[in-house]
């Protein structure tokens, strides 16, 4: 029972972690809470359903399910990256030098826009994921792990690992770290800050799209307002781990998923969303910069 809940929690937590990466990367560079990030995740889930629906009507899903799913994920990632890129250029770039709260309000505006855009074009009712995964899986220490759960955990781990490598080993990753430390100094040493910011949004949106497709497959239904609560949870995860820190977002997401699943199993499932926030408040009161966040002394 406990192990089963741990596996369930880990699955959800891995998805939170992947979404949280987008928040934390943008925050690390721009100090902007990108409220529309949850909507990108929602768009990803919808795109997954749309593309897989097309493949299903072509008969591809029935004959080759794995390539169809893979292609769906790739296509939604591409589109969501384009959404992330456009969003940054249209709504945040003009506000680069505005007061700090202006981009936040712009993000809320984008969020309202995207929610209603999806509601108008795709309808206000639940959309069903066109492919049903069976309950088959494997037994591991008396716990039943479905193939879907295993692949969600594996894909998330692979994404986080490759992102870590990307940030640590590549030129662009180095530029991102430099921009996160000091945007002005980074531009002075010849880093094209605009490109770095665009890349951050593209990567974050791509990750959110993968998370969206995985969740749509996991729960089977999607609605146009799923982005909000997932966004809030992922942001909570990012803050929990220490916002701006990439390993922190991963850790925060997994803690959040575990707390939720254990809390709803052993205390009461009605207050599922409350546990996340209670844990957050407790951790922040003990460690005001999150678990892995660096405590920076204020300079005068």
């Amino acid at each position: 029972m406990l192990l089963q809940q741990l596996i369930n929690g880990l699955t959800v937590g891995a998805v939170y972690a992947v979404i949280a990466l987008g928040y934390t990367m943008v925050y690390g560079i721009l100090e902007l809470i990108n409220f529309a990030h949850g909507e990108i995740y929602m768009l990803g889930a919808y795109l997954g359903i749309i593309f897989l629906g097309i493949f299903t009507s072509m008969g591809l899903t029935a004959s080759h399910p794995v390539p169809a799913l893979f292609l769906t994920i790739v296509l939604s990632t591409l589109f969501c990256s384009a959404y992330g890129y456009t969003m940054e250029k249209a709504a945040y770039k003009p506000l680069r030098h505005a007061p700090r709260l202006s981009p936040l309000i712009s993000a809320i505006g984008i969020s309202i826009f995207l929610q209603n855009f999806v509601m108008l074009t795709q309808g206000a009712t639940d959309r069903v994921f066109p492919y049903r995964f069976g309950a088959s899986g494997f037994h591991f220490l008396d716990v039943n792990v479905t193939w879907l759960q295993a692949s969600i955990i594996l894909v998330s781990a692979a994404l986080m690992f490759s992102l870590h490598l990307f940030i640590m080993k590549t030129r662009l990753g180095k530029a991102m770290r430099a921009s996160a430390q000091d945007l002005t100094m980074a531009s002075l040493v010849g880093i094209n800050v605009d490109n770095v910011i665009s890349a951050t949004f593209v990567i974050g949106a791509g990750l959110a799209a993968v998370a969206g497709v995985m969740v749509a497959a996991y729960y089977g239904v999607v609605n146009y307002f799923v982005g909000y609560i997932a966004g809030v949870k992922a942001f909570t995860a990012a803050v929990l781990g220490g916002i701006g820190s990439v390993p922190g977002a991963m850790l925060g997401g997994i803690i959040l998923g575990l707390v939720e699943s254990l809390g709803s199993a052993y205390i009461s499932s009605e207050y599922k969303d409350v546990y996340a926030f209670i844990i957050l408040i407790i951790i922040l009161l003990v460690r005001p910069s999150g678990i892995l966040g660096k405590h920076t002394e204020e300079k005068v």
Binding site: Y27, P94, Q122, I243
Partner: protein, 370 residues
């Protein structure tokens, strides 16, 4: 390449491509044609980059010279509304008043003291539910509940702030957001006290000497009397030593502490007094609707009130009222567009921010930051 990326053709194509998966080719084609026509028109008119030419920088007329006339005319105009307006418009104006109270309250916390608070709706809910429960369970009247609701909200505001204020900036924001969510979920699940998602019905409207104020024209005066009172009190307080301390904390907390301001005490005071007005707005809302349910107190409300004060101009009391005016009236005006109105509202918020980053009336001070 850059010129091509900013050309109307490219932008229209790009938008149509992004739109395509959500609808069919035909709709994407229509969108492309409309957008291309519109952007080309703009391009020809302005001969500059199409995005930067949409509406030219909004410039408000200089009102300083006409201030006295304006200050005289607006109240008279507002006073005469119930004589000729239909109930529907009065209801909209009553909601405008309630949101103006909320916006002014939040403005103390976010605008004047610089604490980003995302769970403000919790105190609105406390005010509304306090009256709903006291009235339907214990039969207490509006006038007794009025101070009780407002004070309870203020105390709750200070109690939440006491631990949360150890955090800075966005950490404070997420903790307050969490508190708002916890409140929403608790209201939904504490069925014995709050009747869960069904809400509480049968709340009595206020009455004076046996005359019910439930009619929109009477209630209108009651709400706007409260707004005027709030406006007066808040402007007096922000002009006093307390308000100066708040501004000092917003601009530089360390410097303020060095000058002998007890930052913690003043931040607590700001949270308590902001929440006080939210509680007041809550009781007015409950008595107006005669019904409360958790659906009215979601994060969207907090975000909407935050939008109001930033659209109007952070730290500016009149700006808060202006913001409430825009965000309450705009959806009503856009009712003709029916289902598209929230879409337009989202775009509108982004455009206002891009063209007036300091808010429509401008902020209280250029260094507004949190």
């Amino acid at each position: 390449m850059r010129r091509f990326a900013n050309s109307p053709l490219f932008i229209a194509l790009w938008a149509a491509l992004l739109f395509l998966p959500f609808r069919d080719l035909r709709s994407a084609g229509i969108l492309f044609a409309l957008l291309f026509a519109f952007l080309s028109l703009m391009f020809v008119i302005k001969k500059v980059k199409p995005l930067s030419c949409l509406p030219v920088r909004l410039r408000l007329p200089d009102m300083a010279g006409h201030r006295n006339i304006l200050l005289l005319c607006v109240p008279i105009l507002f006073f005469t509304f119930p004589f000729f307006m239909q109930n529907y418009y009065l209801d909209v104006l009553i909601m405008f008043g309630i949101y103006a109270l909320l916006a002014m309250g939040l403005n103390i916390i976010v605008g004047t003291t610089g604490l980003l608070h995302l769970g403000f709706v919790a105190f609105y809910a406390i005010g509304a539910y306090t009256y709903a429960i006291l009235n339907t369970r214990f039969g207490l009247g509006f006038w007794i509940c009025l101070p009780v609701s407002a004070m309870l909200s203020a105390v709750a505001g200070a109690l939440l702030a006491a631990p949360a204020l150890r955090l800075k900036g966005d950490y404070l924001a997420i903790v307050t957001l969490g508190f708002g969510e916890i409140m929403h979920i608790t209201l939904n699940n504490m069925s014995r006290l709050t009747n869960g998602p069904n809400g509480i019905i049968g709340i009595e409207p206020p009455s004076v000497f046996g005359v019910s104020l439930g009619r929109p024209d009477r209630y209108y005066y009651l709400v706007w009397a409260a707004v005027l009172l709030a406006c007066f009190v808040i402007r007096r307080v922000t002009g006093s030593r307390i308000g100066l301390a708040w501004l000092a904390i917003r601009d530089d907390e360390i410097a303020a502490s060095t000058m002998g301001i007890n930052a913690m005490k003043y931040k607590l005071l700001a949270c308590a007094s902001g929440s006080f007005w939210a509680g007041l707005a809550g009781i007015f809302f409950a008595a107006k609707m005669r019904f409360v349910s958790p659906e009215s107190f979601t994060f969207m409300e907090s975000a909407l009130v935050l939008c109001m004060i930033i659209l109007g101009g952070l730290g500016n009391t009149y700006g808060a009222i202006m913001g409430a005016f825009i965000l309450v009236l705009l959806p009503e005006v856009l009712r003709e567009f029916q289902i598209y109105r929230m879409l337009v509202l989202g775009v509108g918020i982004v455009l206002i921010m891009i063209y007036r980053p300091y808010g429509i009336l401008g902020g209280g001070s250029e260094s507004a930051r949190t």
